[in-house]
Each structure stands twice: as structure tokens, then as C-alpha cells.
């Protein structure tokens, strides 16, 4: 009986402890300000790093960053469930989103390049050849001057921002044929690295020595070529807010867009800064030269 009492007492103490802990943490998060940013996994590292720096410099604030994908980010911001929705796409491009309610804040530019397995033996493709590969007209790498290996397509999931950008600007809006789908860039890279004949596409920051990146029409996938739009497969990274941002949300977005972050963090993490761009592109894909810098 006394042992039972002891156990009961212990449970009570633990419960009380948890209650006190919950109360304490509640106090903390209410004492300061906190915002939540949800969405694109491609943009997540940047927002996380910027959030850490910001909260370090502004005590009592808290920026909570979660992944979930572009679709999740846009639907959560549309519902007003979070303060910031991270997206790889213009809200107007995503189905089911009323983009007029959302305000766009561009914080980075991401270049996307096709990658192939090293055994393929191809370093350059024309746009026509690339479309042929992804629509299934070209089924062996011999047809484009490579090794005798069957083409293995690896796509990102439907609705992924990287895939949407690649199909729009890399494949000139042709639709890739149904093939393997993976839900993360890291996974895509490791599969391309190990599967002979594999081709896929990832953001520049994911390219490493295990895979071969491809030139398109003899234009190399470099940051300089992205800034002049010679390399056409790139997209903005957006922070969306519902209506004009206020308070901490406004300050945080201004911080991410400030030169301090754009010149350091954005570039360290493999993104380009929108300030570097010599062109501007809108949701319909129309490109406009930005005056002066050329």
C-alpha cells in the first residue's frame, strides 16, 4: 500500500512539474512576440538561419520555421493560420490559391540545373533534346551522343516548386512523362548519383561532385548566367503574407531583405539575391531588363 502511495505521489509530482513547465513556457512565448513561417523546403534553410540571427539580435522575439512544402505554405497563409508562407512559386501559379489576398516578398533567387549520372557521358543538351529526354522520345543516351545506357527519369513530386519551374522554363511548358517521383532534392541527388542513366534536376546548391550538371544549348548553369537570364531555369523564393505585414512579421521580412542578410546569408547558403538580378520576371514568365546595371 505504501509503495502504491509512493507511485501515486511520484505521478502527481511529475504531472505538477509538467504543468508548471507548460505554464512557464506559455509565459515566455507570450511575453515576447512570436511568428511562424511554414512552407517550401527549398527556402527553409534560409528562413531558419535568418530567423536565428534575427532572434539573436532582438531578444524576446521568436521566429518559428517549419517545412511542409510550397502547397502547405500557401494554403496555411491563405487561411491565416501562420504569419508567413514560404513558397517557390508565385501564388498565382498554384492552383486553389486566391493570390490577390496575398502580398509577395521576394527574398532570394534559386537557379535549377539538370543533373545526370556520371556514367551517362553527356555534358551538354539542346533544349529540344532535353524535352525529348523528359517526354520519352529519347530513351537511350546514345541518341544524344552519350553512353549506351537507357534513360532513367527521376522527377520531383507533382506540385513541387522545383518541378514546376523546371517544366516551365527548362522544358518550355512541356509536361514530363510519368516517371519516378521523389519528394526531396537530397534524395534526388543520391538516386541520380547511384543509378546509371539517371537524369533529374535540382537547385544549384544541391549540385556536388557525385553528379554531373548539364549545360543547356552550351550555356553553363552558373550564377552569372542566371542574373542575366541567359540561364532561364530559375525562380524567385517568396515569403507571402496575408495583407500587408505588421509588427514582428514586417520587421523580420525587412530584415531578410536587408543588404546585411542578402549579401551574407543568402549567398552563403547557395541562393542568389534578387538585388543581383539584371532582369525581373513576373508570374506569367515575362522577363523585363532592369535598367542601368548593364
Amino acid at each position: 500500500m505504501s509503495k502504491k502511495r509512493w507511485v501515486q505521489g511520484l505521478i502527481l509530482v511529475v504531472l505538477l512539474g509538467l504543468g508548471v513547465f507548460a505554464y512557464q513556457t506559455r509565459q515566455v512565448s507570450h511575453a515576447g512576440e512570436s511568428i511562424t513561417a511554414v512552407g517550401s523546403t527549398a527556402l527553409q534553410p534560409l528562413v531558419e538561419a535568418a530567423g536565428e540571427q534575427y532572434t539573436g539580435e532582438h531578444l524576446g522575439t521568436f521566429v518559428n520555421v517549419q517545412g511542409g512544402g510550397t502547397g502547405t505554405g500557401l494554403s496555411q497563409i491563405q487561411e491565416g493560420a501562420v504569419q508567413i508562407g514560404n513558397s517557390d512559386l508565385f501564388a498565382a501559379e498554384q492552383k486553389g490559391i486566391r493570390s490577390t489576398e496575398l502580398v509577395d516578398h521576394r527574398v532570394a533567387v534559386v537557379g535549377i540545373t539538370p543533373i545526370v549520372n556520371k556514367k551517362v557521358g553527356v555534358k551538354n543538351l539542346s533544349t529540344k533534346q532535353l524535352i525529348g529526354v523528359f517526354t520519352g522520345k529519347i530513351t537511350n543516351w546514345q541518341q544524344v551522343g552519350g553512353a549506351n545506357l537507357p534513360v532513367v527519369l527521376i522527377n520531383r513530386a507533382q506540385g513541387s516548386g522545383t518541378r514546376a519551374t523546371f517544366e516551365q522554363f527548362g522544358l518550355n511548358q512541356s509536361r514530363s512523362k510519368t516517371a519516378q517521383e521523389q519528394d526531396s532534392s537530397g534524395m534526388v541527388r543520391s538516386i541520380v548519383a547511384t543509378t546509371p542513366g539517371a537524369i533529374s534536376y535540382v537547385a544549384f546548391s544541391y549540385v556536388d561532385k557525385t553528379v554531373q550538371e548539364l549545360d543547356l544549348n552550351h550555356v553553363a548553369p552558373t550564377e552569372v548566367n542566371v542574373t542575366t537570364n541567359k540561364w532561364r531555369i530559375w525562380s524567385y523564393e517568396h515569403l507571402y503574407t496575408k495583407g500587408q505585414p505588421t509588427g514582428l512579421t514586417k520587421n523580420f521580412i525587412a530584415y531578410v531583405q536587408s543588404p546585411a542578410v542578402q549579401k551574407t546569408l543568402v549567398r552563403q547558403l547557395g541562393y542568389l539575391s534578387p538585388d543581383q538580378m539584371q532582369v525581373e520576371r513576373n508570374a506569367q514568365g515575362h522577363v523585363k531588363q532592369l535598367g542601368g546595371t548593364n
Binding site: G68, S160, T178, Q180, Q182, D183, M187, T194
Partner: protein, 309 residues
């Protein structure tokens, strides 16, 4: 007079044990209520979302179940969205049945060894090993599948290595411990005097196992297999890593294909709540839920039949 009143009061008062009993009942009943509420809420939520594809997006149920094109983002020539779930349904069933077919002989063999042939070694070595296998997280199985099974499949059978065969290999190892331990329980529950009677009649050990023990344990063994199938059907992560996730009808065991779960996990983060793309995924989830209900019903049915004998 006063003494009797006092006694009456004492007797009428609830005893400590009775109070404890009421308290216990309240606790267990509220736990039950909570769980029932959670289950009902989950089923209700999935059903309401899953049915929306057919009610608010006007997709034909038959087209959904038999269509072979899965591209919720685009519409076909008739202006209807391409949401044919047949490739995923076929993929899920193929991989489930195949892995159960491969796992069952091994599982029953192990269970027979553990129970009938060498109970000592079985209890000492095999029991802990199977229990260890249960504890390995599915992402580890998936990772091993990706870095070992897929290249080996590619080297032996060609193709990209991603496909139903690799999925079957991974699931086989994953469901083996479940089926084994449940088969062992089924064999254990065969009464000792069955074996004694059989041996007394002059049957050899093999004859006893084959003609008496396994026959008597059949309902239990079948339950074990169906349990394993239910686990294989619902497994998402490990399968997703090795099957290739291509919404194509599987034309061979090494062609990339997909299961209901793999399409769900890759797609759900890229769709917007309330859109057709999202609802179509919920419909897949509903199919998945209904199938696990069917598996449960089968298990119950087998259990009932086994009792009647």
C-alpha cells in the same frame, strides 16, 4: 438504539473498496470514450475529405477506381481531372500479397522451430532476434533498401532497381517478425495433448507437426498472415524509398511503380488544403482506411470460424 443506528450508518456508507471501484470505472470508461472519440473523429475527417473529390469536384467514382492516369494538376480531353488511382491500388495490393507470400513460409518455419523442434534455442536466440527486428524503425529499413537492395536488384534484374521487387524484399523483412511471433503464439495455443495423442499413435515428429499441430493452428496462422499483410499495406516510408513512386501500372516487378501510401507521403506537402489535388489524396487515404477495415474484418472472421471448430 444508538448503537444499532450507528451500525446501520456504517453499513450503509460506501466502503473504501466500493469508492475505489467507482473511481476505477470512471477512469477506464473515460479512457474508452476518448479513444472511441478519436477513432470516430479520424474516420469522419478522412471520409469527409475523401468524399469531397466525388461530391464537390465531381469526379466519377468508377473513373477514380479504374483510371490509369494520375495527374491531378491537369485535366484530360473531356475537361475532367486525371485522377485514376488504379496504378496505386494495384501497386499496394501486389506488394502486400507478394511480401506476405514470401514471408509466410519463413515465418511459419521459424515458429515451428521455436515451438516444436527446439524450444530452448528458440526461446534463447530466435525470440530476442525477432523482437529486435520489430523494434527497428521503418526509415532504417528504407535506407538499407535504398543503399543495398536497390543496387543488387539493378545488378541482377536490370532496370533502375526501383520497383515492386525491391519493395517486396524490404517489406518481407519488415513483416517477418510480426508474422513469426503471432504464428508462434498460435502454435503455442495448440493443446499439449494433441501432440501427445499423435505421438502415442506412432506418428513421427514431422507427421505430428504437419498433420496435427499446423492443422489445429490454421486459424491462428491465417490471422498472423493477415496481420502481416495489414502492416505491409499501410507501410509508407520504407516502401516509398525503394519503389520509385511512379504512378504507372506496374508492367514488371522491376519497373518503377507506386503504392497508395507512397503517393500520399510525396504529394501531401505540395497541395493546397481544399483543392482537388488535395482532395484526391484524401480519397486515396480513404481507400487505405477502408482496406485496413477490411483486413480487420477478415481477422475477426477467421477468429470466429476458428472458435466454431
Amino acid at each position: 438504539m444508538k448503537a444499532t443506528q450507528q451500525l446501520e450508518q456504517q453499513l450503509k456508507r460506501r466502503s473504501k473498496a466500493a469508492k475505489l471501484e467507482i473511481w476505477g470505472r470512471v477512469v477506464s470508461f473515460s479512457a474508452l470514450l476518448l479513444i472511441v472519440a478519436v477513432v470516430v473523429a479520424i474516420i469522419g475527417f478522412v471520409a469527409s475529405k475523401g468524399i469531397a473529390t466525388f461530391t464537390s469536384n465531381h469526379v466519377n467514382l468508377w473513373d477514380f477506381l479504374t483510371g490509369k492516369q494520375w495527374n491531378p494538376n491537369i485535366t484530360d480531353a473531356n475537361g475532367k481531372p486525371e485522377v485514376g488511382a488504379l496504378p496505386m491500388i494495384v501497386g499496394s495490393f501486389l506488394i502486400t500479397i507478394l511480401s506476405a507470400l514470401v514471408a509466410t513460409p519463413f515465418a511459419i518455419g521459424t515458429a515451428v522451430f521455436m515451438n516444436e523442434i527446439s524450444p530452448n534455442k528458440g526461446a534463447k536466440i530466435l525470440q530476442p532476434v525477432t523482437e529486435l527486428l520489430v523494434g527497428i524503425p521503418s526509415v532504417v529499413y528504407g535506407f538499407i533498401g535504398l543503399s543495398v537492395v536497390v543496387p543488387v536488384t539493378r545488378a541482377i534484374f536490370g532496370g533502375s532497381g526501383f520497383g515492386i521487387l525491391s519493395g517486396t524484399c524490404v517489406l518481407f523483412v519488415m513483416i517477418l517478425p510480426t508474422v513469426t511471433s503471432m504464428s508462434a503464439d498460435a502454435l503455442k495455443s495448440v493443446p499439449r495433448y494433441y501432440r501427445e495423442a499423435s505421438l502415442a499413435l506412432g506418428a513421427t515428429q514431422w507427421q505430428t507437426i504437419y498433420k496435427v499441430v499446423l492443422r489445429a493452428a490454421t486459424p491462428g496462422l491465417m490471422t498472423a498472415v493477415v496481420f502481416g499483410m495489414a502492416r505491409a499495406f499501410g507501410e509508407a516510408l520504407a516502401v516509398q524509398m525503394v519503389i520509385g513512386n511512379a504512378a504507372l501500372m506496374p508492367n514488371s516487378l522491376v519497373s518503377p511503380s507506386s503504392t497508395l501510401t507512397s503517393v500520399l507521403t510525396t504529394g501531401i506537402g505540395n497541395t493546397v488544403m481544399g483543392s482537388l489535388q488535395n482532395n484526391a489524396l484524401w480519397s486515396l487515404a480513404l481507400v487505405l482506411l477502408l482496406m485496413s477495415l477490411v483486413f480487420n474484418l477478415i481477422i475477426r472472421l477467421i477468429g470466429r470460424k476458428g472458435r466454431l471448430q
